[in-house]
């Protein structure tokens, strides 16, 4: 059965993909549908959802709906970019460890373990605070705390593939290590890494929202976590300020998880055997 056939048989995954596409559309259409600055005062402050503002307005009279549309850009951007960075770091460390083995493996794994020992969210908070809150520092912090599992996965894949005939043959014929790692082994190890990465995007979005909630977001970009954090002081008077952005985070993260599971079921041959008796 082809990948697509088995992916499309998973109703959850298809629904997730549809929602994800919708969120992406939200992000892309934001500048056109809400061509004004989402930080601008558009009317009376603290208006409940209704005629003036579909999802209400916040304490400075800013449109919550516009904030959610524009916020989608930040969430998706940070989710994807920090995952890409984390995967690159993890794959490089794990590949080197698994491919060369021995002392190199030992050192790389101790290094990875070390990072796993520090409570990850505390480290992320510390990194963002030290690098001063901004898009770049949030991406760096999230990648720094999320790469170790990728490294472990990549290492185990490389360990398993290292002594296969096609790799040994390439080594014997004098192909450079770098070319073997990236040209021969990596493509064969890619499937589980892609599955892991898809789920990491969801975690990254959650982490970004928690950082912004604590006031460590980029002050120049509206984001869902920021909206909830800023509304905390008034959340007893204005429920809509925390409920709607929270729903946005929830739906997006849920959709990514569903898609990730769909990928897993469709790509992981072992699991496929289970689901297709």
């Amino acid at each position: 059965m082809s990948f697509w056939q088995s992916f499309l048989r998973n109703r959850g995954a298809v629904a997730g993909l549809a929602v994800l596409a919708a969120v992406l559309l939200l992000a892309l259409s934001a500048p056109f549908l809400f061509s004004f600055d989402p930080w601008d005062t558009r009317g009376a402050p603290l208006q409940p959802p209704g005629e003036g503002f579909a999802l209400g307005s916040d304490m400075l009279g800013r449109d919550v709906l516009a904030g959610i549309f524009h916020g989608a850009r930040v969430s998706l951007f940070i989710g994807v970019v920090s995952t890409v960075f984390a995967v690159v770091i993890g794959v490089v460390v794990g590949a080197v460890a698994g491919y060369f083995g021995g002392l190199v493996d030992d050192v790389a794994m101790r290094f990875t373990e070390f990072f796993q020992t520090i409570p990850s969210f505390v480290l992320a908070v510390l990194l963002v605070a030290i690098l001063t809150p901004g898009l770049a520092s949030i991406v760096i912090a999230i990648s720094v705390v999320t790469w170790p599992p990728v490294a472990r996965l990549a290492r185990s894949e490389f360990l398993a593939l290292r002594h296969r005939a096609f790799v040994e043959a390439a080594v014997l014929s004098g192909v450079s290590h770098i070319r073997i790692i990236f040209g021969e082994v990596l493509p064969n190890a890619l499937t589980p890494i892609v599955i892991m990465a898809s789920l990491m995007v969801a975690t990254a979005i959650l982490t970004e929202s928690a950082l912004s909630f604590l006031g460590l977001g980029d002050p120049n970009r509206i984001s869902w976590g920021y909206m909830i954090g800023a509304a905390r002081a008034v959340f007893r008077h204005a429920w809509w300020l925390s409920v709607f952005p929270g729903l946005a985070i929830f739906v997006t993260v849920l959709a990514i998880n569903l898609v990730g599971e769909g990928l897993n079921d469709a790509l992981n041959p072992h699991m496929r055997r289970r689901t297709d008796p």
């Binding site: 373990e113 520090i118 510390l126 030290i130 001063t132 604590l214 007893r236 985070i249 929830f250 569903l258």
Partner: protein, 326 residues
């Protein structure tokens, strides 16, 4: 003999990791702009060069960084974590003061998750592809995907503000009731919302983990053999499937236990819980280096310690690991 080697090796590793964390944290924190003297100056509404210089000298901040690092590492080795810059109290005291509150919160959440999560996972696996399974799977996905702080706010909005059932903030009433029991009940009432908020996320993970692991082992040959031998289904499930599905649960429980100390910053902030996570966050905002480093050290010690316990448990649960790793 092997157990001694294992223990010794573990101790050396733990010591090295902790030392590295001390050095790393020290360097990271010092990279940040501003120091405690500027914070104190800001709070007092007046400051002159003399005040700044004296504060820096008092805490040794005027010395070169390597010298400060050497002093700090030396002190940590002699178990002296120093004095908080802001309150001038020993940071070890401050951390120990806050630790019980955090352990109460994270411990309750941990037990709640460990009690409920795997049970739901087993139920889902046994009833695979039936309504109960779908319900549990969907609920697990939902709670896994909701940001903890948002769940916390919704709970406060619903259970405290709207229904008025449970107190929204803090760990005890401002003027606690008299009597041991009444006081315990008071704390317990405050504990419900934060512990459930924190716990639900982990319940979701355990449920997913257990269900997945059980379904995976259920397809393995030896389970099929057991079934073919005519063993009753509940025996197959408990003796064969669950025993193997335990491994990922133990591994993850070890991971979660490691975060008992440092893993509740967000929950503690939302619920104004007077624990160590909040202490760390406040210390960070106020640049109270010694305090911050002590909190990090405490949480790292917890992680290292529970890694060890997990390793040990895994050896007992699955002797193959000991043979391969030893």
């Amino acid at each position: 003999m092997r157990i001694l080697l294992f223990l010794g090796g573990w101790l050396v590793k733990a010591a090295l990791i902790l030392l590295a964390i001390v050095v790393l944290n020290f360097c990271l924190v010092r990279l940040a702009p501003g120091d405690v003297a500027t914070v104190l100056a800001g709070e007092s509404g007046a400051a002159d060069a003399d005040f700044l210089a004296r504060t820096r000298a008092e805490f040794g901040l005027d010395r070169p960084l390597p010298a400060q690092l050497a002093t700090y590492v030396g002190n940590v080795l002699s178990l002296d974590l120093g004095v908080s810059y802001r309150t001038r109290r020993p940071v070890a005291d401050m951390v120990l003061e806050r630790l019980p509150a955090t352990l109460l919160l994270t411990g309750t959440a941990f037990l709640f998750a460990l009690g409920v999560g795997p049970a739901l996972g087993v139920l889902a696996a046994v009833k695979a592809r039936r309504p109960a399974d779908s319900l549990i799977t969907v609920a697990a996905l939902v709670f896994y995907a909701m940001p903890i702080f948002w769940v916390g706010l919704l709970f406060i909005l619903f259970f405290s503000v709207t229904l008025g059932w449970l107190p929204p903030f803090g760990m005890r009433s401002l003027i606690p009731p008299s009597g041991e029991l009444a006081r315990a009940i008071d704390v317990a009432r405050h504990l419900v919302l934060p512990a459930v908020t924190l716990g639900l996320f982990y319940v979701a993970i355990y449920a997913r983990l257990t269900r997945g692991a059980m379904l995976e082992t259920a397809g393995l040959d030896y389970v099929k053999t057991a079934r073919a031998k005519g063993l009753p289904e509940w025996r197959v499930v408990t003796a064969h499937i669950l025993r193997n599905a335990m491994l990922p649960i133990i591994t993850f429980a070890g991971l979660q236990a490691g975060h008992l100390v440092g893993g509740a910053i967000v929950a503690e902030t939302v619920f104004a819980w007077p624990g160590i996570g909040r202490l760390a966050f406040d210390a960070l905002l106020q640049r109270d280096y010694n305090l911050l480093l002590a909190v990090f050290l405490a949480s790292a010690v917890a992680v290292v310690l529970f890694n060890f316990v997990t390793d040990l448990l895994l050896r007992i649960a699955d002797p193959r690991i000991g043979a391969a790793g030893g």
